[in-house]
């Protein structure tokens, strides 16, 4: 389980994260919601150990993240961000192999190669194995990056222990086809025992795919709930500065949100 205990983060005069305490749900799809500038990305960086908290502690399975070395940490959690461009051409399989870097010293083992093949299989990019990464479309590139982070925290690894996948607005450059594909792939990881922690900006997708919701407002946790119906129009209207209305899909009976300028 990943926990934040009264975490603060200051950058110069700016107080970006102001005392957040929370526990992400193990083996669930955790979603962080909030408007631009609420401190979502900073919070995620603190949780991944890429940033060090000014105050408070980030705990991985009862161990402070500071006490875990960068190498061991890289075998327990992986981070997928928005869009990764490469300055140089590399074949897809080399990019995915980078996910195995924390696991071998110089030369990848057969086990590492098998994982690469399976990760590419999961994202349906096996046919692109030897294609140059830079020639792929944005959606295909993001699938390759997903395969890379999957390979990094691959479940059938000899390594035991909980695995965490962090997603920092992973779908913001994707069309709806790739967006759904990526969210489905992330959800499928839960069955294999992985915990997913994602920042998503599309509130409807977030509520549809998430199990637990953490709403950030100005560096503080405005709401934490496992029940999507507990998220009220008032909260969304205040936090996102819009007008919000819950509607029901006539055919499926599912609810969704409609937003108008506030």
């Amino acid at each position: 389980m990943v926990e934040l205990r009264d975490v603060h983060y200051r950058a110069g005069a700016a107080h970006i994260v102001r005392g957040v305490s929370l526990a992400f749900r193990a083996r669930k799809f955790n979603v962080i919601l909030g408007p631009n500038g609420a401190g979502k990305s900073t919070l995620l960086k603190l949780a991944t150990g890429l940033l060090e908290a000014s105050e408070g502690a980030v705990i991985y399975d009862d161990e402070p993240v500071k006490a875990i070395g960068v190498g061991p940490l890289a075998r327990r959690r992986a981070v997928l961000s928005q869009h990764v461009e490469l300055a140089f051409p590399l074949p897809v399989e080399d990019v995915v192999m980078m996910g195995r870097y924390p696991h071998f010293a110089r030369v990848p083992s057969q086990h590492d190669r098998d994982i690469i093949a399976q990760a590419l299989e999961v994202v349906e990019m096996t046919a692109f194995r030897v294609r140059s990464y830079s020639t792929l479309s944005g959606g295909e590139q993001q699938k390759v990056q997903l395969a890379r982070v999957l390979a990094q925290i691959w479940m059938d690894d000899q390594q035991t222990g909980e695995k965490y996948l962090f997603l920092d607005e992973p779908t913001s450059n994707l069309d709806i086809y790739y967006e759904l594909h990526l969210l489905e792939a992330a959800r499928a990881l839960l069955a294999r025992g992985c915990t997913v922690i994602a920042i998503l900006h599309d509130i409807n997708q977030a509520l549809r795919y998430g199990d637990a919701f953490f709403v950030l407002e100005k560096g503080r946790l405005a709401q934490e709930t496992d029940d999507e119906s507990a998220i009220s129009a008032e909260l969304l209207e205040r936090v996102f500065r819009v007008r919000a209305r819950r509607a029901t899909d006539a055919r499926s009976g599912e609810t969704f949100w409609r937003f108008d300028p506030g």
Partner: protein
Amino acid sequence: MPERRGYGRIYLLLTVLLAASVLASAALGAFRFTPAEMFRYLLQAIGISEPAATDALARNVFLHLRLPRVIVAGLTGAVLGVSGTLMQGVFRNPIVEPGLAGTSAGAAFGAALVFVLGERTTLAFTQPLGTLAVPLFAFIGSFLATMLVYRASASFGKVNVFTLLLAGIAVNAVCTAGTGFLSYIARDPQARNITFWNLGTFTTANWRGTIVIAVVFAISFAALSRHGKSLNALMLGEDEAASLGIDPSALILRLIIINTAMVAVDTAMVGVIAFIGLVVPHILRMLWSSDYTFLIPASALAGAFLMEVIDVIARFVISPAELPIGIITAVIGAPVFLWILLRQQRAGSVVVDG
């Protein structure tokens, strides 16, 4: 996945090319040596066979002029090739090389300081301390210049190519002006030496310098063997590299120090040779792969090979005189540089995300 794609065969090919070029470079020039002669002199040098009195002149030319020159040329090519690879990795851009980022010019300025001003102090080149002072000052100048260019062009994990080029121009201008000033106030034989040395030359190669360059290169190269993977990961960007368990700022600092040490010690001896660091990794990327675990060893081999070839050309173009090495590398390298820059611009990726 090194073995499967057969980097081994490429290394073998490059090694064969390098061996052939070393042999040619050792044999050709104002004095020509047959393989049999070279073999005989080598045996005589290590005391296996008796030196024959009739060989004395040719043997001395071979052992004390030609051989160190061939080795220094090869080492210089290897240093500059690897340096280009490293710097392109650190700056995440294919146009960077020691000549562009101030590394060479900074080293030249540092070394020239000792050459000219050291004469009035205990640092004089002829003094024991001076031998150490030249590479040391070259390293300091080189490190400061490189760090300045890096700091100016990189912010928030991204490298801006325009700032990089401008900072490179500015730092190079200051260092070149400094070296120019020193050669102006120097007395004549020294001044001419600096001018010639500023264009790159292997004529001054001697055994002592050769050993220093070889040792520094060997240590640097050994220290690099772990970093191929890290440089690959850095291609993804600093945050991504960090989440793969690499500390990007520590990595970059370590690579700049290793790179500067190699280039500074070499530059102190042979002067400024531009564009090798640009051309070598570029050819390797085009022909084979951008994987740094491959590029680091391959650019050492290919750089050494290319430099031997260029050194042979330098001996013949205006024979019996010799052309400075830097002139040839500029003629070959500048068009390649422009070509890469134009291609990058067309691809719309002159500003590269880190």
